[in-house]
Each structure stands twice: as C-alpha cells, then as structure tokens.
C-alpha cells in the first residue's frame, strides 16, 4: 500500500472576499502522477501555489511527507515547480539557470557541475549549457525549466500548465516525455491543466475542480466513464444530456422516461426512487446508429439526421429525437449520403445519472 505523500486538509484560500480555494482536501499517493483539472479560475493553480508555499492557506493544513508545511517558506519546502511561462532567468545561461537551486543550497562547485551536466543529459539537452534562454526554442526552454526543477531532487514535482506555450504537435510529444521521466524517477508529481485530453492521457489520478472545490477524484477512466456530476461530464469530453423522470428502480436497474421514450440504466446507485427528476449523460461514441431497429428493441430511439460533420477518425451525426438533438460519433463512418431516419441504440451500461433535480 503506497503511503500518502502530499495531503491537503480542508484548505481554504481567499483573495479578498472570493474563495479561490474553498475547503479542498486531497491525498496524493507517493510516486503517483496526480492532475488538477478544471476551467480557468477554478482554483487549480492557486492550489498548486499553496503546496509550493507561495501563498499561505487561510484555513486548513498542508502536509508533505508527514511534515506540516503551514508557515514553512517556499525555499524550505521539498517541492520544485515548473512554471507555465517557464520563468527562466533571462540574464543567466542554461547552465546558470539549472545550477541556481544548487547554488542556493551552497553545494560545492564540482558537485554542481556534475549534477547539472547529468540532468541536462537526462532531459536531452547536452551541449546547450552556454546558451541563453532567448536562444532556445520553446521546447528546449521547456526542458530547461524541467531540468532546473528536477536537479534539486525535490520530493514533489509541481507542474503548472507547462505545455500551454507549445504548439499542438510538440505538446503531445513533450507530455509523453514528461510522463516517461516521471515513471523512471518514480517522483510524486502534481500537474495542473485545463486540457482534459492532456489530463486523461498523462495521469494516474485526476482531481476535477470547479469554483474552488474538488468535485471528483478518480482514475482517468473513472472520470471519463463515471462522471460524478453534470459539470464533470460536460467538462471532460463531450456528452449528451437529457432530462427525464425515473419510472422504475429495481436492483440497480433504473428506467427513465425521456420525452416519452424509455431508457434502462444499469450500474447506478440504488438511491433513486420512482418519480425522481434526473439528468442523464451519454458519450457520443457510446451510442450506436443503425438504419434498422435492433431485434431487442430495448433502449432504441428513432430519429432524423439533421447534420453531419467529418472529423477524420470519426464522423459526427446530429440526430433529432422528439425535442432533443443527440450527438453521435461513429468511428470511420461516411457522411456522404447520410440522411433521413435512423435508430439510436444506447447501451444501458453507458448511461450515467449525473444530476438529481
């Protein structure tokens, strides 16, 4: 059983009257890659800065490695951070930038040189020691920032949207590299991003934040397939939402009436009662589309295609069923000549009740 490495206990941070972080509690396991995910202004960066010690919490406690961190200044915490805009020192060379943290720790010159040399090799930047940050490409600057944080051998590595200044292709490559480095070093890492795809691809654990609170903690698959509420379902990936009334709830099998059509749902909590008003969500790729009704007839809706869009790996269909428009993604697919009536099959295990009204 891995031990808890970083622990936030009921942490509150206010700026003026606004609580940027509002009663956040989180356990980060040792060696794990944990991501704080949420839209801008949700408090994820503030949470990271509280862990680094740039802000002091107004309430609550922060623990790292069994030690209470409240009132410990940033330079005495076992954390190192990679900043969104890198924050490389423009008047120092790559070597001096990376050596900075070691110099502040008063290490002997020789040891500094060895450690800087080996970390630059580790991140794949040997031979650039004498260059200034403005002479490097965005990707190289990124790696210098990473090397500068890693070289001080922090217990916990903090990354604040480190990929947001890179172009799309490079972003995917660098995030794979970061994940690879983290795995090799088994370093506890806390990563902040607003990009749900990035979070899903890179993390062991995702904590989704909304308006200063953590709304769900789980593995990427849990977050994607079992969103705790409508916000998570909406923010992570694309989802169809529909409002309905529970007509039956027996043994974890719930039947919901949506505008006259009935959909069965499996795997739900037993807390639902007939008559409850609920919002359900279904991922577009979970729905199957067919020209003919399925033999069973269960969870099948009849609709009209209103619009299509070819997205490369999938084709997206907008299908009108009664009052509601469903989005359906079909792998491959061919929008050519797709029109008219279609049957939607919604597998019961892929429907989530995300809100009770």
């Amino acid at each position: 059983m891995p031990r808890v490495h970083v622990q936030l206990v009921h942490v509150v941070k206010k700026f003026g009257a606004v609580a940027a972080v509002d009663d956040v509690s989180l356990d980060v396991q040792e060696g794990s890659f944990t991501t704080l995910l949420g839209p801008s202004g949700c408090g994820k960066t503030t949470t990271l800065r509280l862990i680094a010690g740039f802000y002091e919490p107004d309430q609550g406690e922060i623990w790292i490695g069994g030690k209470r961190m409240n009132d410990v200044p940033p330079h005495k915490r076992p954390t190192a951070m990679v900043f969104q805009e890198y924050a490389l020192f423009p008047h120092m060379t790559v070597f001096e930038n990376v050596a900075y943290g070691l110099r502040m720790r008063r290490l002997p010159r020789k040891e500094i040189e060895e450690r800087v040399g080996s970390i630059l090799e580790f991140v794949g930047l040997p031979g650039l020691e004498g260059k200034f940050p403005h002479q490097l490409s965005g990707g190289q600057q990124q790696r210098v920032a990473l090397a500068r944080a890693l070289v001080v051998e922090p217990e916990v590595l903090l990354l604040d949207e480190p990929l947001s200044n890179l172009d799309a292709k490079l972003r995917i490559r660098v995030r794979t590299e970061i994940r690879e480095i983290q795995r090799r070093l088994k370093k506890t890492t806390i990563y902040v991003t607003h990009d749900q795809e990035e979070a899903l691809s890179i993390s062991d654990v995702i904590a989704v934040m909304d308006r200063g609170r953590i709304v769900q903690v789980g593995t990427p698959t849990e977050i994607y397939h079992r969103p705790a509420n409508r916000f998570v379902a909406d923010f992570v990936g694309l989802a169809n939402f529909a409002q309905g009334t529970v007509v039956e709830a027996v043994d974890g099998r719930v039947t919901v009436d949506i505008g006259g059509s009935r959909l069965s749902i499996t795997g739900e909590d037993a807390s639902l009662r007939p008559g409850d008003q609920v919002v359900i969500s279904v991922r577009p790729e979970a729905i199957r589309l067919s020209a003919h009704p399925s033999s069973a007839g269960e969870n099948t809706l009849k609709g009209m295609i209103t619009s299509t869009s070819f997205l490369g790996s999938v084709t997206r269909f907008w299908v009108r069923v009664g009052e509601m428009e469903w989005i359906v993604d079909v792998p491959g697919g061919d929008p050519e000549g797709a029109a008219g009536e279609r049957y939607l099959f919604v597998p019961p295990e892929n429907i989530r009740v995300v809100e009770k009204i």
């Binding site: 940033p74 330079h75 805009e85 890198y86 924050a87 008047h91 502040m104 403005h134 947001s164």
Partner: protein, 545 residues
C-alpha cells in the same frame, strides 16, 4: 499602384508626387533647422580657439564643475529614482502617493525647484531663517546638487519602474522555490535584471544634469558651469565665440552619453517575455526592505511638496524675507506679466502644432516607406534629444540673425527652435503608434486605390490620435516652461513667461516671479488635463474586451 518594402528604394516617389513633396519638405526643414544650426555652432570658433581651451583656467574649471555635478547629481537622482520605482512597482504603503509625487516635477518649469528652495532654504528662507533661525547659504554646488536631485529623479523613476514592472513575478517565485532567501532574490535576480534599466536611466539623467540651465543659473552662484557660461558670456560680454565654445564643449559629453544609451545600453535591456499565462500577484516585500524605502521616499516626497508650497506661498507674501503680510498684490498686478504669459501660450501652441505635424509626417515617411534618405530623416529627427537647450539657443542665434533667414528678433526664432528641439518626442511617440498599426491596413488602402497621402490622412491620422495628443501635450508643456533656449532668443518685443520670471527673480521681485510661475504651472497642468480627457474620451468608443 505601389508596392511597399519590396520595391526598389525611391520608386514610390516617382509614382506619388504628394508623397515626394512631403518627403522633400520634411527633409528640407530638418536640414535647415537641425543640421545647419548645429554645424554653424561647432564651426563658429576657429580650431585655434578650441585648442586654446586647456590653457584657460576658467574653461577648465567650468568643465570640471560640470562633470563633477554630473557625477554627483546623477548618482543621487538615480538612487532616489530607484527607490521611488521600487516603492511604486512593488505596491509598498503609499505607492500611489509616491507615483503622483514622482510625476509632479515633470510638469513644472525646470527652474522652479531652485526658485522655491531659495524661497524656503535660502538666506531669507521661510524654513531655514524664519522657522529654524539658521543662516544658510544655499547658493553654490551643494544647493545645486540638492535641487538637481529633486528636479531629475522623476526621469530615473519613470524609466526604472518600467524595467522593474517588466520583471515577471513568476521568476521571483521560481527563485524562492529553488531555495533562494529574500535577499538572494534581490541579489541574484531583481538587481541584475534591473541593472541595464538603471544604467539607461542614469545616462539620460546625466544628459539632463549637464544641460540644466534653469536651476544652475538661479542657484549655482559663482560656480562656473558650461551650461550657464554661454549665457553669461553673451549677456555680459557679447562674446558669441566664447558662447559657441561653451556649448560645443557641452555637446561632447551629451552626444557621447546619448549614443551610449541608444547603441549600447538599450540592446542589453532584458525584454522579459511573458507568455500568455495568468499574471500572478507579486510576493510582498520583506519588512527589512519595505520600511526603510518607505521612509526615504516619504522624506523626498516632502522635499517635492515643499517646491510647490514654496512658490504658491511666495505669490501671496508682500515682500519675502522682510514683510510676511499676505497680499493679493502680485496677482492683482497681473498686467505686469500677462503679456509674457500670453506670449508663452502663443509660442507653446505654435511650436507644439508644428512639432506634432512634422514629427508625425516624418515618422510616417520613415516607418512606412523605404526611401532614399530614410535613415538620414530618422537620425535628424532623433538627434535633437542629445542637444542641450543652450546649444540649440546659441545655434539659432548664430544661424538666423542674418539673411537669408533673419528670424531672431521675431517670435519665430523661439517657436522654430522649440519645434525642432522637441521633435524626438513627437517622432518617437508617432513611431510607437505606427508600430501598432498593421502593414496590411496600408496595403488594403492602397489596394482600394488610395494614394500615399490619402492613406495618411484617412487611415493613419485617426489611428494615431493617441500619439498626436501625447506629442502635442508634452511639446506644449515643455515649450511654455522652457528657459534654456528662450534666454538666447527672446527680445523685448516677444518676452515670454519663463524669461520674465528669471528677470523678476534677478531684480528681487520674488512675489511677481512666484505668481507668474504658479500661473505658468496652472496653464501647463490645464493642457495636460485636457490632453488626458481627450485621450480618455477618444479611446472610449473602441470596443472593449
């Protein structure tokens, strides 16, 4: 019709006569009113006269004094400027007050600090003699040092605060995160990053100190300086040659410092590029730094406020130093100085309009077209910033006292001298404004059939109104408060306010001088306020967000 950067140089002019005319006109004006007077001054004394300089003790003394004052005043003014910049950019207690205080001397007549300190700290000083019972002689180099520090620290504060504010707060967090203590952050990060800005500020302050005529003429007493020597030689001995030598000697260090600043320091200013990341708030300044800085800034602020209080009070005192009864006489006798004040306004408006029109046109020509002579135009539009006012004054006096262009004796001599002396401010404001306008806009206008001048009038002028208003306001304020050029070019027929003040002070009419100074200050602040409202209103219709 035309192509832009891609075409061979100069081709544009053949196709577009309006543009060609504008180019020739602007270049011609700059040659006649910048290049010609400069060459005339330098070549007025013979080589033998220059070679004789080291043999004359009075020259050697003036050179030594000027350089010594430069070192002293520049050091203190830059240091005080840094403290103010630090206090305002880090949001220390009183930051907004300090920011306002540091702006005040920028709008005042340049000699006002000296005048007020004579009133407050001089032999008949309100503070030194009346309140403290001291007998202090403020005249001489210590008085000048104090006055120049107070008068010029705002320039340093302005430049340094720009540099300090550009330091990305994340970098300071990164340093702390990597183990730097408070002092380490300043030692390894803030000061090295600010150093080029501090150097640039010091160089610009040094130019101002060397060229400072107003304060020196009032307070330096029997302390020869290059900046005042020219006027003394002309006033006392009608020695034009001596005056030309004095201002030419002054030109060597000012041009040297100017080139150093532009070619060397400016390229070393670290432009700290911040990504699109959220601007995080700065970490707070530790107490051991905070309170000493606040204390120092408060003391200097007091000295700045005394400048204004002194002159204001001075305008209501019957006879300063002898009869402290308050009176409105100096204000009621306005007819004594209303004429000069109106002349100042006339000169101010005329030169500000000319500066702005010529500067914007020149900037348009150099920034938007590649023409033969573009670099020459650029250089001559910028170089007056390196010329001391007294140099320009002597230059116009020597060049335009005789046909074919006999301007001295008319108001035009002063108007044109100020127009071209202020050219760099208007030109650089316009260039900055133009840099924000996309080239595609010009191409679109040309594509739709507009000629070069049409593009300028229809597209650029409306978009440049910010630069135009800024240029007009600064030129006007500097023109009405100018003394260094005015002393050489005014005649009894076109007396201006600043010169009338100098005369009144020299004649002991301190009350009149104070009232006129306050009036001048009110006028320039009123123009500033109008300019800022225009800017505010002008920008409001633009869509926000």
């Amino acid at each position: 019709m035309l192509e832009w950067a891609g075409t061979r140089r100069g081709r544009v002019l053949l196709y577009d006569p309006g543009l060609a005319l504008a180019f020739i006109l602007v270049a011609g004006l700059l040659v006649v009113f910048v290049v010609l007077p400069t060459l005339r001054v330098i070549s007025y004394p013979a080589l033998a006269d220059y070679l004789a300089v080291p043999a004359q003790p009075r020259w050697i003394q003036a050179i030594r004094n000027s350089l010594a004052m430069m070192v002293l005043s520049t050091t203190t003014a830059t240091a005080v400027g840094f403290l103010f910049a630090f206090a305002t950019s880090r949001g220390l207690p009183g930051a907004r007050l300090f920011a306002t205080i540091a702006m005040l001397p920028l709008f005042a007549p340049p000699f006002m600090v000296a005048f007020s300190y004579i009133l407050m700290f001089g032999r008949n000083g309100l503070i030194t003699r009346e309140l403290l019972g001291l007998n202090v002689n403020i005249f001489g180099w210590p008085g000048l040092w104090l006055v120049q520090t107070v008068a010029f620290f705002p320039y340093a504060a302005l430049i340094i605060s720009g540099v300090l504010e550009a330091i990305n707060p994340s970098m300071e967090y990164a340093a702390r995160d990597l183990g730097a203590r408070e002092w380490d952050v300043y030692r390894t990060l803030v000061i090295p990053l600010a150093r080029p800005g501090i150097t640039a500020a010091a160089l610009l302050v040094a130019i101002s100190v060397l060229a400072d005529f107003g304060n020196a003429v009032l307070i330096a007493g029997n302390f020869p300086l290059l900046a005042t020597e020219a006027w003394f030689l002309i006033e006392g001995w009608a020695d034009l040659k001596g005056a030309a030598i004095a201002v030419s000697l002054l030109l060597i260090p000012t041009v040297g410092l100017f080139l150093l600043e532009r070619k060397w320091v400016r390229q070393r200013v670290y432009t700290v590029v911040t990504g699109r990341g959220t601007r995080v708030s700065r970490a707070s300044v530790p107490a051991f730094l905070k309170w000493p800085v606040v204390l120092a800034c408060s003391l200097v602020s007091l000295l700045v406020l005394i400048v204004y209080v002194g002159v204001f009070v001075g305008s209501f005192v019957t006879t300063w130093g002898y009869n402290w009864r308050l009176t409105l006489d100096h204000w009621l006798l306005a007819k004594d100085w209303l004429g000069p004040l109106l002349n100042s306004l006339k000169v101010g408006v005329a030169s500000a309009v000319l500066t702005t029109v010529i500067a914007v046109t020149a900037a348009f020509l150099t920034a938007c077209y590649r023409l033969y002579g573009s670099r020459f135009l650029d250089f001559t539009a910028v170089v007056p910033a390196a010329l001391p006012g007294v140099f320009v004054g002597v230059g116009f006096l020597l060049t335009f006292s005789r046909p074919p262009l006999e301007l001295v004796g008319t108001a035009w001599a002063l108007i044109l001298a100020l127009t071209f002396w202020h050219m760099p401010m208007g030109y650089q404001a316009a260039l900055a404004g133009l840099a924000q306008i996309e080239r595609a806009i010009q191409e679109a206008a040309a594509n739709l059939g507009a000629s070069g001048l049409r593009t300028f009038v229809d597209i650029y002028l409306p978009l440049l109104r910010h630069a135009v208003i800024a240029s007009f306001t600064t030129s006007f304020m500097r023109a009405v408060t100018n003394l260094s050029i005015a002393v050489f070019l005014v005649t009894p027929g076109n007396m201006v306010g600043t010169f009338a003040i100098l005369m009144a002070i020299n004649n002991g009419n301190w009350g009149t001088a104070a009232a006129l100074t306050v009036a001048l200050l009110v006028v320039s602040l009123a123009i500033l306020a109008i300019g800022q409202t225009l800017l505010g209103r002008g920008l409001r219709p633009l869509p926000s967000g």
